[in-house]
Amino acid sequence: MSDTNSEWPLWEVFVRSKAGLDHKHCGSLHAADARMAVQMARDVYTRRQEGSSVWVVRSDQIIASDPGDKDMYFDPAEDKVYRHPTFYKLPDSVDHM
């Protein structure tokens, strides 16, 4: 019974809550194939009109950054305050630019 080969693969589900917005990750589910995954995503994650579109992707197809590398990867952006508009103090009369 716990033979993992007989288990349906895992899929990640992304839902667009309404037209014009991004698809957002909202959870995962098991399904035998892509079509079933989309149908089940509808039933599981949009029972209250939470979405107008769903994407599914096999979980084993996702490549993620290594959490162990988090600091090395993301900290270099920390001291680059000049990438933000608020870094530049302009005269009041033109500050709305």
Binding site: S2, L10, G27, L29, A32, M36, V44, R47, D66
Partner: protein, 333 residues
């Protein structure tokens, strides 16, 4: 400070307590993150005992949602009106969804859903003892919504802030859906109490009498008899103590019962002006432990139903997978 439980766990397992400097550093960073109120994600390092405790709690929670579909499912075909039937179907479907969110959260800890189900079916894993009570009349369905889901909400809201992020995210989604469960139950009882016959009103009171004490037990043993609670609190898995949640539930329910026009089967239940809370009588914990131990009114029936559903669905699971593999091959050719 979190290492203590981890070390006892290893000692209990008969293994020597060995730790490399690297492991000790990871442990220290983990402790700091917990203390800072940070969330832990699936791929982050975590102590073995933290992982084990979470897996036990989340899978037990998932099993409870799935087994919890059975007592109410019992009434879907016999709901008194089409409206109540549609509502009950939607609620039971929600509970199935809750089970699914939670199995997915538990799977991130490295155990497959089939392995968790296997543990349930072989009796190794537990589920909430409340679902081992029978639903004898239609009023039980309303009482479950009002009281059982009400107690579940009290329990679940603090878990939305659990330190393990996949669990916390699943709980946020679940809590958003639970409110309707409690309200539809109360609404259904209210209709019977306002417009029902004397016999229907008596049916509501009878259901409330039977569900009240088991609901109070849902919060778990009293704080002074709950040895693992302290560790759970330190890890940010548990946020509020059993007795605090139970008191909160009693306070809310007492007020709701008055509006509904029913009483609870507890002669000691009374408002305490000094504490500004409702006092309640002693809970019969021997009943709780008996039901947890497998000897409740419906333990055998519930488990047998789950095992039957799993076994009878096996050919469907196999066929769907075989079909998917065949189609993949065809596409590749």
């Amino acid at each position: 400070m979190y290492t203590q439980a981890m070390d006892t766990l290893r000692e209990e397992g008969g293994q020597p307590v060995l730790r490399t400097a690297e492991e000790a550093a990871l442990q220290q960073r983990f402790d700091q993150r917990i203390d800072a109120g940070d969330f832990i994600e699936a791929k982050d390092w975590m102590p073995e005992n933290y992982r084990k405790t979470l897996l036990r709690q989340i899978s037990q929670h998932a099993h409870s949602e799935i087994v919890g579909m059975l007592p109410e499912g019992n009434w879907i075909t016999r709901a008194p009106t089409l409206k109540r039937k549609a509502i009950l179907l939607a609620k039971v479907q929600d509970e199935g969804g809750h089970g699914l969110y939670l199995y997915a959260a538990a799977e991130t800890l490295g155990t497959s859903r089939d392995q968790m189900l296997d543990a349930l079916h072989t009796g190794k894993a537990k589920y909430s003892s409340i679902f081992n009570y029978p639903t004898l009349t239609w009023a039980d369905v309303g009482a479950i919504g009002w009281l059982v889901d009400g107690a579940a909400i009290m329990n679940q809201v603090p878990i939305c802030r659990c330190s393990y992020a996949p669990y916390a995210r699943a709980m946020v989604r679940i809590c958003r859906e639970e409110s309707f469960h409690q309200r539809q139950g109360y609404d259904s009882l209210l209709v019977m109490m306002k417009n029902g016959t004397e016999a229907q009103k008596a049916m509501v009171q009878d259901a409330v009498n039977r569900w009240w004490w088991p609901c109070l037990m849902m919060f778990g043993p009293p704080d002074d008899q709950s040895p693992n609670s302290a560790q759970g609190m330190r890890w940010g898995i548990k946020r509020v103590s059993n007795d605090t949640l139970r008191q909160k539930f009693v306070d809310a329910a007492a007020q709701q019962a008055a509006v509904l026009g029913v009483t609870f089967p507890d002669p000691d239940l009374r408002w305490n002006e000094e504490s500004q809370h409702w006092d309640y009588g002693a809970i019969d914990w021997s009943e709780f432990w008996r039901v947890v131990g497998g000897d409740g009114p419906c333990n055998r029936e519930r488990l047998a139903d789950r095992v039957q559903a799993w076994e009878e669905g096996e050919w469907v699971r196999e066929a769907a997978l075989a079909h998917a593999r065949k189609s993949e091959l065809k596409e590749a050719a």
